[in-house]
Amino acid sequence: MIIKNGTVYDPLNGIKGERMDLFIEGGRMVEEAKGEVIDASGLIVFPGGVDLHSHIAGSKVNLGRLMRPEDHRRDPVPRTEVTRSGTGYTVPTTYVTGYRYAVLGYTTVMEAAMPPLTARHVHEELDDIPMVDKGAFTMMGNNHFVMKYLKEGNWEKLRNFVAWLLKATKGYAIKLVNPGGVENWKWGKNVEGLDDQVENYGVTPREIIRGLARVNEELGLPHPIHVHCNKLGTPGKFGIVVDTVETVVAERGRIHITHIQFNSYGGEDWATLSSAAPEVAKAINRSEGATCDLGQVIFGEATTMTGDGPWQHQLFRLTGNKWYNSDVEMEVGAGIVPYTFKPKSLVNAVQWTIGLEVALLVEDPWKVVLTTDHPNAGPFYRYPKVIEWLMSRKAREKTLSEVHRAASSRSTLPSLDREYSLYEIAVITRAAPARLLGLRRKGHLGVGADADVALYEFREDDIEGSFSRAKYVIKDGEIVVKDGRVVKEHWGKTFWVSPPGELPEDAREEFERYYTVSLENYPVEPEYLPRSEVIPCG
């Protein structure tokens, strides 16, 4: 296949909008090829999009679907000759999730929160998501054995356990969600800061973060530790992000702070909420090894769902909306609360400024990834709106004029002139997340890359529309989307890692005593990943 005459943006190969031809054969980018010709004159050509933080599969996502029939009813998706039916809106069904990502030009998506005990459920759903390659991050920040070995200071056992758990769950990365706080939530409590104690374990969030960051590098995992910080969603607590970043980079570790918007709150309470994006962006700017994704707020309906049980309880108490809580023995928790981001709400308007501010204030676009923490701050298929805000100061000013005035007075957003270029958009939606994930064949179009390509008809006066429906999407060398419609169902792979390390002997007995499943029935069997690829460590 030949993609002829397109304007190519391929940041990993230093290509900044050059007219050129691309060649595809055997599902990969190659030097030269024959075959079908796609006329890309007048189109921009990006690598397939890479989403490194989204909630698309597993027990908590499915509870989000279950509890919201009202959310689905307004967004039915009929079946077509090539696609299956389903429903949206904020938490789409599995097939619809795959189709909507593809139409946006995204070809790789990571589920950001996999509870180990229900990992099979995550993989069953991933197996029902077509179109994209995928993977899932294994939650470890409140794991019994992690905290136990940290307390004992037994690094070897900790490293072995983490390696084993990644393999047992077929996970891709180490995820921490409110480390220590969720274990305390199992007694109805939380932690208030990085040096609070986790009940019965005698460790602190700081020790958990530092320990897992160290193990992450010792195992040579492709992705840094992926951290949902403590005290998320709390006014005045932005310092925890700064402190968390510094704790890890002080030891030359790598850390990815996820949905940073939700942790970048100044002020003292909700009435005095202000943006602390400048302080947080400064910490990212000065810290080598620190990166973030946005968790950008989109106005409208959302379904908040996190592994952060105590935070979701707080949100329930704030809103009075329906509330699901789901604690998992020995490991994790989760909560789900529907939420509406309203433009005229002081709090929501300030929240909206923060993600954009961070994106505009972090100087190096390679340290930023575009996300909405789908479906927490809004559904992923509204990413084009975020692109528009980042690329156009005018678009930001328009929204600023429509929302609560606090957005202008409690944030530096109105003063920021920066506008993202198409090249920078290609960085924060493709190249940077692929590099951060350590997926070497993703996020670029050089020879040997997977032939995942998105072509858009770009119009300056309708940036959102331009990115909402790709003109063509090519996945593994096949045209799967044409003119914004799925024309072919395609099945991607699941990526996972397999670092060396086995379950420590002394964990076996404790496992059998405290879990309610047998150890032999715990690891996810290969049958659950019919199409998978192990990404090498080290």
């Binding site: 279950l66 689905h72 998706v77 009929p78 039916s85 069904t93 199992k186 309610t516 047998s518 049958e527």
Partner: protein
């Protein structure tokens, strides 16, 4: 002789996974750790097997599948029902078949914990996995359920007697049973509370009021001081849980009973840690809800005749569709509605072309036009099942079977209806 360890039991929602099964010459000869119901399911798995039939005449499996496909192809408003006693791949195929034939699709939760789903859609639920209970719970309330007879190993493995991380056994837990009459479960508990038939909602509401500090008098036949005492105990525990069954979901008030229970638990989280869990019956009824939800957004009682899933319990639930004589064909998978449904519903089921896919002869298979025998999930074929708390486990194949797994039968029907 082969001894299989770590076998997952495909009977009830407990999904005990510590069974040992002995196989000799391809036959199961004994089990260890299994409850009496489970043992009998394993030991008698080869008995009462269904034969492939069309119109009362024994045929080849191929012929039965062909006729099943013809019935579904020609139907205007078919119903696909059951799903709860099979594994999740078969459930996925059932959704596909329903989508292709524009069918109504329902699982057995519409006659057990459907009201639980409806209530959770109103207000959410505070849930956890069973290990949380084993490790932490110091107060356990069984409400409208009888684990001693229906979930036999639940008290030993998960709730009353196991030694967990912070609770060493029965002595460190206070156990309450609320029901309309004493059962064997009542003998295992510290306190039995007798609620008058059909008045659970009243008692739950009185408890909520007491938890909120209001004076309460007698409610549902329970004296005020008992209600107050229970409310104080609930507020004062470190980790409490309510397990509830069909005594609450299927008695007067139905989903409103559950709504009251869910809200009581929500209120209790202002004081302490408190959770709630339905006692799911069939071993994979939870899975039926999960699979339908990830593929359609809805857990049961839905319809595909518009080309997309529409949800409406009461309209698309099997009992209602059959009683109103709306569906003109039915496929029953891994369930025996003729044994459980009201007479009017069964009459209609008998009058329309019905296809049954089941390992065993059942009342429904006897009135069906087409019978397709299948392998028993968890004994004769592998698959996934979801425990009552949502924990998925891999079912094992213990012995070979001459029968096809449900998922393969459905795949073949799908091929023939044009999938």
């Amino acid at each position: 002789m082969v001894l299989r360890r770590g076998v997952v039991c495909p009977f009830c929602g407990c999904l005990c996974d510590d069974l040992e099964v002995e196989v000799e010459d391809g036959r199961i000869v004994s089990t260890k750790n299994a409850c009496p119901v489970s043992r009998s399911k394993f030991l008698s798995h080869a008995e009462d097997r269904a034969r492939p039939m069309v119109g009362g005449r024994e045929v080849s499996v191929e012929e039965a599948i062909e006729e099943a496909a013809r019935i579904l192809r020609e139907a205007d408003f078919p119903l696909i029902y059951g799903l709860s006693s099979t594994e999740s791949d078969a459930q996925r195929m059932a959704v596909r078949l329903a989508e292709l034939t524009g069918a109504s699709l329902d699982n057995t939760s519409s006659t057990c914990h459907g009201p639980t789903v409806l209530a959770a859609q109103e207000c959410g639920a505070v849930k956890c996995t069973l290990g949380e209970v084993k490790n932490r719970a110091d107060l356990i309330v069984f409400w409208g359920c009888n684990p001693a007879e229906a979930h036999i190993r639940h008290p030993i493995r998960y709730s009353i007697t196991p030694a967990g991380m912070y609770r060493q056994g029965k002595k460190e837990r206070f156990v309450v049973h609320v029901d309309v009459r004493e059962t064997r479960t009542s003998k295992m508990v510290n306190q039995f509370v007798k609620v008058q038939m059909g008045r659970d909602y009243e008692l739950l509401s009185a408890l909520r009021a007491a938890v909120r500090g209001y004076e309460v008098k007698e409610a549902a036949g329970v004296p005020g001081e008992v209600i107050k005492g229970l409310a104080e105990r609930m507020k004062g525990c470190r980790f409490g849980i309510i397990f509830f069954g069909m005594g609450l979901t299927m008695s007067r008030g139905k989903n409103l009973n559950i709504d009251a229970a869910l809200r009581l638990v929500r209120d209790l989280n202002e004081h302490t840690k408190f959770l709630i869990m339905p006692m799911r019956g069939h071993f994979n009824v939870s899975g039926a809800n999960e699979v339908l939800t990830w593929l359609t957004g809805y857990p049961f009682a839905l319809n595909f005749s518009r080309g997309y899933p529409v949800y409406n319990p009461g309209e698309f639930s099997a009992v209602d569709l059959l009683s109103r004589e709306e569906c003109d064909a039915a496929l029953i998978l891994a369930s025996d509605p003729a044994a459980h449904f009201p007479a009017a519903a069964v009459r209609h089921l008998a009058s329309i072309p019905t296809v049954v896919i089941d390992p065993k002869v059942s009342l429904t298979s006897k009135l069906a036009r087409v019978v397709i025998p299948s392998a028993i999930a968890g004994i004769e074929c592998e698959g996934t099942a979801y425990r009552m708390d949502g924990v998925p486990l891999r079912l094992k194949r213990i012995v070979d079977s001459p029968y096809l797994p449900d998922r393969e039968i459905l795949e073949r029907i799908i091929e023939r209806v044009g999938g």
